[in-house]
């Protein structure tokens, strides 16, 4: 009990860091909430013109008709770019999508495995979702007419008539609003707000636990303190349990604090299915971060306590950037994504995307498992290092 109580006394001495990161978190939450505060909580899309870059390698009737169709509403630039540059252009919103129509597209579009139109867009942004849906609905419409017996030319002509920007387009995972005067697509901001508010929470979780919990544990690991405690009437196991309990309580408080604070901005969406999954996702991430602390604690003999400020920034920022917390996953390069797959932040972001798209537990379980797997690996490595040091 003495170790447990002292844990909190020492933890309190790290309050400047705690308040700093809570302040950052609060600021980010307010910013995100303010962004969604317009138009009674809705962000509307449709009848919007976007800047799209198209590369037509097929130059066929179908591809020409498709480009013409896009030009009706959007500013289409027929120009090829380097893939990395495209990502930059999308990231800086200079273009909303980059579409490549492959050679042989028309020839194969009715086959079982047709050549796909490659679309590169920021699918995390509603504009990207909107353009992708336009693209697929146009091609599906042509295919439908052809299957009904129309020639390609007729199918294209009929599609031009039937698929119109003024027509309603249903976007899976997004709410529609039939009553909108322009019949434009109206994306309800409720789901996206939950996504945006919960997306950056791993950063405060990591920074608070790394800068306010781990240093406290490391204080008890200082050679002199550790020796003095281990020659006392308190066993080493009891001391470790007390430290673990202290860490767990602080982690739980951080999780609850962030959840309650964030949920205050969600209005009536709190306690709904998506919210519950998002909270579960955050809880799992908090558990995983606590397990990461155990791994780092096992390296206390390297004197990492002195480098905690640097380590906190490297780990929290590194995990956040590589895992798609600060930069949308769609914008990340394949190499970065490959690295990101080894990080819990990546699986947190993927889970949240799926939660936002209304997926059920069966489709989230894999991502949750991957998050937990990272924690289990950290725990196993940490225990292995401790045992190795003991032996």
């Amino acid at each position: 009990m003495q170790v447990f109580k002292t844990f909190f006394k020492i933890a309190w001495s790290y309050k400047p860091g705690l308040f700093l990161y809570l302040g950052i978190c609060a600021f980010m939450t307010f910013m995100v909430a303010a962004q969604f505060g317009n138009s009674e909580g809705e962000v509307k899309y449709g009848n919007e013109s976007y800047h799209i870059a198209v590369v037509d390698k097929d130059h066929s009737t179908l591809s020409n008709a498709f480009v013409k169709y896009l030009k009706k509403q959007h500013t289409v630039e027929e120009k090829a770019y380097d893939k990395d540059l495209v990502k930059d252009l999308i990231y800086y919103t200079e273009i909303s999508a980059y579409i490549t129509i492959p050679d042989g597209f028309e020839k194969n579009h009715l086959e079982k495995n047709p050549l796909k139109v490659e679309s590169l867009s920021d699918s995390g942004q509603a504009a990207g979702v909107f353009i992708n849906i336009q693209l697929s609905s146009y091609l599906e419409s042509v295919a439908r007419f052809e299957r009904a017996g129309f020639s390609l030319e007729d199918a294209v002509a009929n599609t031009e008539k039937s698929v119109d920007f003024e027509e309603f387009v249903e976007i899976p995972g997004l709410e529609k609003e039939n009553s909108h005067p322009n019949n434009s697509i109206s994306i309800s901001a409720n789901g996206s707000k939950l996504y945006s508010l919960f997306l950056f929470l791993p950063y405060p979780v990591m920074t608070i636990l790394l800068s306010c919990v781990l240093p406290v544990i490391l204080v008890f690991r200082e050679k002199e303190i550790r020796n003095r405690t281990s020659i006392s009437a308190v066993s080493e196991t009891a001391c470790n349990i007390a430290l673990a309990a202290g860490g767990a309580v602080v982690s739980l408080l951080v999780f609850l604090g962030l959840t309650i604070f964030t949920s205050c901005f969600l209005g009536e969406d709190v306690f709904h299915g998506k919210w519950a999954y998002a909270v579960l996702n955050l809880f799992l991430f908090t558990v995983v971060t606590a397990m990461l602390l155990i791994l780092m604690d096992s390296f206390s003999f390297l004197g990492i306590r002195k480098a905690m400020d640097v380590l906190t920034n490297i780990i929290a920022l590194g995990f956040s950037f590589l895992g798609g917390i600060f930069v949308p996953l769609s914008v990340l390069g394949n190499g970065v994504k490959t690295v990101g797959k080894f990080l819990p932040t990546y699986w947190y972001a993927v889970s949240l995307e799926r939660i936002d798209a209304g997926k059920g537990f069966s489709e989230l379980a894999g991502c949750f498992s991957m998050e937990l797997l990272f924690g289990v690996v950290c725990l196993a490595l940490g225990l292995a290092v401790v045992n190795l040091r003991k032996s």
Binding site: V219, S232, A233
Partner: protein
């Protein structure tokens, strides 16, 4: 019931090829102030660490209060207090909180602990600094806090591992007085140091160790009696002939004479009036000298004679 508090039998501790403790044995009786004396690297701290089960050893046996000491013997640990060489306190806690933490590892009752903490702080003279944080304390006060943390739970056996390293003379004096008082109050003390003056002043029994081995053991006087050299007569004189040197060497009880940098060192073995004989020689030969004085041997001389090296590293 046996009065033996600590019993170490044929302790062997190896660090790969290096033998840190080589069949080392010692016995400490209740109420003793036991000095463990040796140069740096002689095995003092290794002995203490093995005693406290902080280090596993290769062979031998350690008994404290008549019971075999193992890492899980919390009942034995409860009766031991340790003041380590390096200050072991939390910089995040103030003086009172630090003492309360370490006392709380032994004493669960809140009221009793409060009383013990107050007493410990009063004992080391830190009561007026109880709200201070360690960073605000001077080196001497920090050492005193270290002692308060080690003794607050009123242990029967207190181990002081070089507690006065890098402490100013005044604080050192306070610390030594405090330790003597603890011993007077009934605590058994183990005091390790390479400062022979401290050990000589505090300890009723002294064990000299070197290279993990026991070299000699006894009271300060017993150890000094092992020496051939019982007195050094030192004379500061500008000029001295070879013939005079030979004549001084022939004086009663003199067994060695050295003249260097205008200082004549005359080593005597036995005898009571050696300085009078030497002074008489100079006045008889009408030789002028600047200064003459006598020095009694120290534990350092004992150590030097037994092992052939100094106790303290030459600075």
């Amino acid at each position: 019931m046996s009065d033996t508090v600590v019993e170490i039998d044929h302790l062997v501790k190896r660090y790969k090829e290096l033998i840190a403790l080589d069949n080392f044995s010692l016995r400490i009786e209740k109420g003793e102030a036991f000095g463990l004396l040796g140069p740096n690297g002689s095995g003092k701290t290794t002995t203490i660490n093995c005693l406290l089960s902080l280090l596993a050893y290769d062979n031998g046996e350690i008994k404290i209060f008549g019971e075999r000491m193992t890492p899980n013997r919390l009942d034995i640990k409860k009766r031991i207090g340790v003041v380590s060489q390096n200050v072991a306190v939390f910089n995040e806690l103030n003086v009172y909180e630090n003492t309360d933490y370490f006392c709380g590892l032994y004493i669960k009752e809140k009221e009793k602990r409060k009383q013990y903490v107050e007493e410990a702080l009063e004992f080391v003279g830190l009561l007026e600094f109880k709200k201070f944080y360690p960073k605000k304390l001077s080196g001497g006060l920090l050492r005193r806090l270290n002692i308060a943390c080690g003794i607050a739970h009123k242990p029967e056996l207190i181990i002081f591992d070089e507690p006065t390293v890098a402490v100013d003379p005044q604080s050192r004096n306070n610390i030594l007085e405090g330790i003597a008082k603890l011993n007077e109050n009934g605590a058994t003390i183990i005091y390790t140091s390479h400062y022979m003056e401290e050990v000589e002043r505090l300890c009723s029994k002294i064990l000299i160790m070197d290279r993990g081995k026991r070299v000699a053991e006894g009271t300060s006087d017993e150890l000094k009696s092992l020496l051939k050299n019982t007195e050094n007569v030192i004379v500061t004189i500008r000029k001295l002939s070879e013939q005079s040197m030979e004549e001084i060497r022939a004086l009663p009880h003199v067994y060695d004479v050295k003249y260097m940098n205008e200082t004549l060192t005359i080593k005597c073995s036995g005898g009571k009036h050696n300085i009078t004989h030497v002074a008489g020689y100079f006045s008889e030969h009408q030789m002028d000298y600047e200064r003459i004085y006598s020095e009694l041997p120290t534990l350092n001389d004992v150590f030097l004679e037994i092992t052939g090296k100094e106790l303290r590293d030459k600075e």
